[in-house]
Symmetry: C2
Subunit: 157 residues, 2 copies
DNA sequence: TGCCCTAACTTGGCAATTCCAACTGAGGGT
DNA sequence: ACCCTCAGTTGGAATTGCCAAGTTAGGGCA
């Protein structure tokens, strides 16, 4: 890997949302992570399943590894040479919430006419799960009553 | 407005996440929505605050209105001509969860060195709020125990 | 009537990103 | 020595985004 030295913004925005989007807002990033959550890890899996151009895939995997979202691991299949695969880190797995938020939004306001293709559920029980806002002591909060407000270090957001 | 006839994908993906990203994954879209949640509504506010090129802003506002995320409303300031502003619809406001997810992720794994610029809190009380996964009867679920799984209509996700 | 002002856009040209298809390269098997 | 696979590269076209300058539609004011 000749390390295409990713050319993403060097400046770290004060706004957290902006920082997230600098990394995740590039085309294909979140879809790669979605597929990784489904258990995919190889270059060819991502490429074939997503239809992403291989040069772009190379660039994205590099960026995501650099950001600590994916981890590059070597593997070796029976009677084949050593190759590399890409696995979610803790940090990457925690993007599950972002993906669930995106999925819930589409399902609620723009559902697929062909039926429900993907569900969010508890592993053992299969109970349906959904996103909610809670206080630190676990009370469920009304979404409309929660705001994104300026914090202590806010200057211009 | 000559309606630049947005050229986004005509095909609706079966995958909800993919559908969300077709709309929201374009550069600036989520930042526009973030600023709208902060109460901004005018072309010049978005342009000046975000530093987004005005032609791109025009295109994005058009796309978001078309998608029902924003609503174009006319307003008139004391002694000025009629102009238009852009306001979140119900559908747009519900993207709050997506933005909170993005913010929480950055704050947890890549916090701003200068301190907390933005917080998520309940309006009346100022209590800190955070995203969680809950079952339909309101039980809090462990994030690690929740998966995005194939639904009844799944063919190839 | 005509001129100025403002805020919402357009336009044109250039830069960066993405797309696509074809190609390379590092081993391992035969 | 040659073939096979899979992870990438490479080169060129197309799309998207950026930037600065211009346009437009009224309302106020002279």
């Amino acid at each position: 890997m000749a390390s295409p030295r990713s050319t993403r913004p060097a400046t770290e925005h004060a706004c957290s949302i902006h920082r997230s989007l600098d990394l995740l807002g590039e085309k294909w990033s979140l879809l790669i992570i979605r597929n990784a959550l489904r258990g995919q890890s190889r270059f060819s899996e991502f490429r074939d399943e997503l239809g992403i151009p291989s040069d772009v895939l190379t660039a994205r995997l590099g960026t995501l590894v650099e950001a600590g979202v994916l981890e590059r691991r070597s593997y070796r299949e029976e009677g084949a040479r050593e190759r590399f695969s890409y696995h979610l880190t803790e940090r990457g797995r925690s993007l599950k919430l972002v993906l669930i938020a995106l999925q819930q939004w589409s399902d609620e306001y723009n559902p697929f006419p062909g039926g429900v293709v993907s569900v969010v559920q508890e592993v053992g029980t299969g109970r349906h799960a959904s996103l909610a806002l809670v206080s630190d002591d676990g009370d469920l909060l009304d979404e409309a009553a929660v705001e994104i407000a300026r914090g202590p270090a806010a200057r211009t957001w």
